[in-house]
Amino acid sequence: MDFYTADWYPLGLGNAYYRKFDLYKMEWKLREDLKDCLVAVGPYGGSIALMKDLSKDKPSSSRPTLEIYSASGIRLSSIPWKSGHVVYLGWTVTEDLLCIQEDGTVLIYDVFCEFKRHFSLGNEVKQNQVVEAKVFHSEYRTGIAILTRALTFTLTSSIEELKLRRMPEITGSKVQPSCWTVLFQDRVTLVLAAVGKDLYLLDNTTCSVLTLPGMSPMAGAYLDMCVSFNYKHIALFTDTGYMWMGKTSLKEKVCEFTSGVRTAPKQMAWCIRPYSKHVAVAVMWDKVLLVAGKAEEGISFHLDEPSIMVPELDGVRIISPSTHEFLHEIPKATEEIFKIASMAPGALLLVAQKEYEKESQKADDYLREIKEQNLLSLAVEQCIEAAGYEHTPEMQKSLLRGNLQLSREHEDQGDRLKAASFGKCFLDKYSPSDFVVMCHDLRVLNAIKDYQIGIPLSITQYKQLTVQVLLDRLVLRRLYPLAVKICEYLKLSDFQGVSRVLAHWACYKVQQKEKSDEVVAQAINQKLGDTPGISYSEIASKACDCGRTELAIKLLEYESKSEDQVPLLLKMKRSNLALSKSIESGDTDLVYTVVSYMKYEFNRGDFFMTLQNHPTALSLYRQFCKHQEPETLKDLYNQDDNHQELGNYFVRSSYSSEKRVEGRVAELQNAADEYNKAKNELAAKATEDQIKLLRVQRKLQDELDKPYLDYSLHDTVYNLLLDGMLKKAEQLYKDFKIPDKRYWWLKISALAEKEDWEELEKFSKTKKSAVGYLPFVEICMKHHNKLEAKKYVARVNPEQRVKALLLIGDLDQAAEAAIEHKNDNEMNMVLSKCSSISDNVTAEKINRARAQILKK
């Protein structure tokens, strides 16, 4: 503890301390010297990509190797480089490796050296060739800036939506800039380039010469420059050893520094911490690392080996062939606790805790002191915060324990504390959530920092990166089990956590070509089961993209949502399966989707055949055709030899689409033919009759100049009778074999309507009525002709006579008849008609008769 601050180095008078500590002893065995390599290290503890830099070596026969290591130096992957000459390597925000070639082609690989895609930076770049390149990051995007041999800059702010921007040329200069960088001002991407003593700022259209405020005129020529991780600060180094540090607006100087070394640095990197008021830049030469800031003297470190620096959000990573170190500014909380002779509450709390462990009563004194200042909660906060900044678990524990024990004391020994006249415990108001969250975070950070994983994130970086992105990164590294553990540990919702990871795992799994479809599908289902939030269709889609159609189909079986199954099945051209699935789902929209797909994909014959095998789809499609494509409907029936439906089809069109009589006859003839083929003689006969009738009707229409078309046979005959065309009616009756009964009804009604009573009587006498004579009575009464009605009563057969008599209102006779028949029903019928007083006699008569019948 006393030595805790031994590796702290103060810079200037601003109470800024810096320290450098080991993250890892590197596992790798490098074949090449780092300085002979192109090196790219991803931000946020990202992986290290290495490739021998051919431009430094004389053309060698051997092809270089692209190697990717974790931050701890474990090789993740490597491939022999077979493409062109690579000028620059860089990582994107999504951990893809960009390999920028001399010819302006950019190849994208993932961390496992698997090729993803490539694109070109345009013809001009290709012709002029790339000299230097830089990869830069803005929010969610990665851009590339290129300096060509023709000394022009080309850049794109996003490699996803490639828009190449050619920057204006540096006016009047034919010399390659000594150094340059990409800046953002008001969301505009700019290039700042230095040629000798001059600075040029290039925006979209213009190139302007620039003088930095407060820049010493004697500073000399610019040798190097660097922009901070957050693109807010910039530092420039000149050949007089002078350093200008300021804001990227280039209008504000923060400080300057003069170093003893005047040679061009190997590398420069900002070493600042978010929200800190201190600034510092790490400048690296072959053997020396200098931390320069607002101070007379910088901090220098000796370097044993050639190293490279990786700027991070809150410090600089320094990677050498043997070690991986982290240089950062000591955070405020840590400083206050550990600074020698600090009386900050956190520091006291830490001491108290140490004493408590020793079971010394001094613990009480210290606590009392904090308590008296009312600073105990602040102390706790400080300790918690400081624990986050520690990289060794021991130190973290030590800082947290003070807390923990106090918390416990509060819970278990609250009474004792009270007895010791501490009064009400300060922890009353303290919510343990900060403490718990910090414990969780540290546990996650320690886990990913492990050698095997090799992601050295500081808590600041981790908070900036968020758990979700960290999980994505783990997934990209195929560290599925760890990712799942973290999700479970942090109790993330399935949707954001486990399910997502598992889905990714499954998507990876389907790419393992060496395993059989069966095995993969089973493995996936076993692991994923019915986990909520898992979309099997997405996994299947991935399998399909990898060309594993069979596997995709197997996986789709596990998909519970048909609406997700069907589109993919169609994509894989499994339309039959898609059709079955859509029908199973009961969702007609899905069925239609498949049907309309098949309609265009299949030839007509196959399409119809498929439909025939799926009646539900067929009936749906028929519905559609009925309204939209009647011709197709006909074809459908034809294909199926469905003569019955074809007949119906023709009948329908005979009255819906055809207006001319000839046309209708033709359609009906078609219908009759089809009905005959369908062995539906009844329908065929009916259709033929209709043809005959249509012809007759047309003739009638012409002759009589009256609309006869569209009447039914019944109505035709009826109208003929009304028109007095008795002969014609008789003719139709014979021709169409109208049943006698119908004809009698028809004729009686028509004649009555015409009030042709004479003809009616004549008709009644032609031959025996097929319907009896009650209808004659009824029809006359309907037309209120009692006189005529009476004529027929006598001819009504005995069973119906009572009815007939009632119809003409002859109650007395009706009663007589009913009594004669001894029919109870009839008697009731008569009785019910006896309503007025005058009918009393009749009623009595019946009642008497009834009584008599009953007596017997």
Partner: protein, 658 residues
């Protein structure tokens, strides 16, 4: 045969009973001798014995629908004309009337038809059911505008949902990019306290005739909506292929929606889903309960009816909302028609005595009478005279000998005697062109009860029908055949594989005998079998008392218990399909009974039962179940795709010239 005879004579008195009550039509307004002769108000009407649990309040469904519609209208800011398809007009009126629409920038209202619309508005909003024909009308309108370089905004609101075919048509007609689409998920229209209609009359034809399953998801969604507001329901029964599919889709929705498993006190406990084709007999029978008769004669549309001049005894027609708010109607709707008149006369008499009170009043009493009672009395008076008018009008039509004969024929068919006589009278019906749908109805009833017509009858009746009503009805017959409503017995076909296998096994002679045996077996009607098993034709000892009915048969004058209702009664009583195996086999199976959740604590909700009719239900069925509810202490809620009666059913199957 002997017992049948007895029955025939036995139900005649009941018919006569109808007549006796109905005779004195004239005297009703004066409340004279006629009413005095008539019996007192029947007990059932006056009191509600054995009250079931209170009904959930379904008006929230209306509010939901209205709010969503307003939201959709506001999505198209500014003045717009609204073009509504005819079938949505009445339902829309129940949700949001014209003044509400006007409040939300609707300028003019048009009916969607296949003809141009003369609108000056720059924004047209269509409110339609997702039908192909409507899409074409809209396409015509849009394309006409395009040709005349008229630039407008078009928005189509589909109710209750859009179908893929609609998009297909929009694409084919080349206007996909010109219109925006939205869905108004208006599934459920509460017509009354206990009736919720989806107002989808096309459901019947689409599913049962065309085999189009498009509405299944819609019904499932509607059920899901009800369940999420008034559930969770704990149990579901069902019978029929469609019911099963609906249930399965609903189940999927339930599973997806795990989150909503709150411990709410459910209002609804049980859902019973039933296909219309499980029971075709009931909707084919003439309705004789008041509400059913009003529907048959005046056509109730979306819960309201338009009484013409013959009812109002004035020049104009009056539109009346028929629901429980109408206190007069509430008391007679479920009654057999023969009771209605006596009730109304009693009511009229009471009303008169209320009015008469005025004579003995002093000024103050008169004041309070005018301010408190008079309005109610006047309202009651108005309703009473309307219903009396309706009754008279019904009687004019229904007391004729024709109707008596019709009922007689129907009852013979239901009981299965004197079939030949019935066929003769149906033939006469056709020959005399009494009514195309009535004739069809009888034909279908004959076919269903007899399990098909024998070839000779089928051919002759069909030919005669075509002669009467034209050959276009060839297609109608084809449709009826496809739905199984009117079929020809084909001995060879019904005997399927079993017979052919048998004939291979045995000698020719034996096979012949077997075939005979089989054909007689095949001819055995399912309806007869079911009717026997369930006792659908009540045994009659003496006269069936329609005033104090003892079973659901009262809705058909005591001649027949609606099959659908009987099945429901049996399953609810047994709490399963156990013991009904034979019946379900005859009904072509597809029955199910599932536990949805174990929320059985609330016994009130267990007695609140949602009956889902897929393909429509009749007012007779509703009346029968209401009766059952009163007897057994259930509360039934009816969810139907539409209100059905024989005319609507047959009209939807008829092919008419367009």
């Amino acid at each position: 045969m002997h017992s049948d005879r007895k029955r025939a004579s036995a139900f005649l008195p009941s018919l006569q009973h109808v007549r006796v009550v109905l005779v004195p039509t004239r005297d009703i307004y004066t409340v004279g001798a006629a009413a005095a002769v008539l019996a007192l108000i029947p007990a059932v009407m006056a009191t509600d014995i054995l009250d079931g649990p209170a009904l959930p309040d379904f008006t929230i469904l209306k509010r939901l629908a209205r709010d969503q519609l307003i939201y959709l209208l506001e999505q198209l800011p500014g003045k717009k004309d609204l073009i509504i398809e005819p079938d949505l007009m009445s339902p829309l009126d129940r949700i949001a009337n014209v003044s509400i629409l006007k409040q939300h920038d609707v300028d003019k209202l048009y009916k969607l038809e296949n003809k141009p619309i003369y609108s000056n508005n720059d924004q047209l909003c269509f409110l339609i059911r997702p039908r192909i024909s409507h899409m074409k009308y809209i396409a015509n309108l849009v394309n006409t505008d395009k040709r005349s370089d008229r630039n407008r905004k078009y928005k189509i609101i589909f109710s209750p949902q859009k179908f893929h075919t609609c998009d297909m048509i929009l694409e084919q007609e080349g206007i996909f990019g010109d219109v925006t689409c939205d869905e108004w998920s208006f599934y459920l229209l509460p017509l009354d306290d206990d009736i919720i209609s989806m107002e989808l009359p096309e459901f019947y034809r689409d599913y049962f005739l065309e085999g189009d399953q498009r509405w299944i998801g819609t019904v499932a969604k509607a059920l899901h909506l009800l369940n999420s507001i008034f559930g969770p329901m704990s149990k579901s029964y069902g019978i029929g292929r469609c019911a099963k599919m609906v249930y399965e889709v609903w189940k999927e929705l339930l599973d997806e929606d795990e989150s909503d498993r709150t411990e709410r006190r459910p209002d609804l406990g049980v859902a019973f889903i039933i296909d219309r084709d499980v029971d075709y007999v009931t909707p084919l029978c003439s309705q004789v309960v008041y509400e059913g008769l009003v529907d048959d004669i005046f056509r109730i549309k979306c819960g309201s009816v338009e009484f013409g001049p013959e009812v109002t005894s004035s020049e104009k027609s009056i539109k009346v909302l028929l629901n429980s708010q109408d206190k007069v109607f509430q008391e007679i709707r479920n009654e057999h028609f023969s009771n209605v008149f006596s009730f109304l006369s009693q009511k009229a008499r009471n009303l008169q005595s209320h009015y008469d009170k005025r004579r003995e009043m002093d000024i103050n009493q008169m004041k309070s009478f005018v301010s408190q009672e008079l309005k109610g009395l006047k309202q009651e008076h108005r309703l009473l005279s309307l219903h009396i008018g309706a009754c008279e009008s019904i009687m004019k039509k229904k007391t004729k000998q024709d109707f008596q004969d019709l009922l007689k024929t129907e009852h013979s068919l239901l009981e299965g005697f004197d079939i030949r006589e019935s066929i003769t009278s149906i033939e006469e019906h056709i020959n005399r062109q009494v009514s195309p749908t009535e004739s069809l109805r009888l034909l279908c009833l004959l076919s269903i009860t007899e399990n098909g017509l024998i070839t000779k009858d089928y051919r002759s009746l069909k030919t005669q029908y075509l002669q009467s009503y034209g050959p276009a009805h060839l297609l109608t017959f084809s449709n009826l055949k496809r739905t199984g409503l009117l079929i020809e017995q084909v001995p060879g076909e019904t005997l399927t594989a079993v017979e052919s296998k048998m004939s291979k096994l045995v000698t020719d002679k034996a096979a012949g005998k077997l075939t005979d045996a089989f054909s007689s077996l095949a001819k055995k009607s399912h309806f007869r079998g079911i009717s026997k098993k369930l006792g659908l034709i009540p045994r009659i000892d003496g006269e069936y008392d329609l005033k104090t009915p003892r079973d659901m048969a009262y809705v058909f004058s005591g001649a027949y218990i609606p099959l659908s209702c009987k099945v429901i009664e049996q399953v609810l009583q047994r709490k399963s399909w156990m013991g009904l195996e034979e019946v379900t086999r005859l009904l072509n199976g597809n029955e199910f009974s599932v536990q949805l959740s174990d929320n059985t604590a609330n016994s009130d909700s267990q007695r609140t039962i949602l009956i889902v009719f897929l393909g429509g239900c009749t007012f007779s069925e509703i009346a029968a179940l209401r009766f059952l509810g009163k007897e057994k202490g259930y509360k039934f809620i009816f969810l139907t795709t539409s209100i059905m009666n024989s005319t609507r059913m047959l009209e939807s199957l008829a092919e008419t010239k367009t």
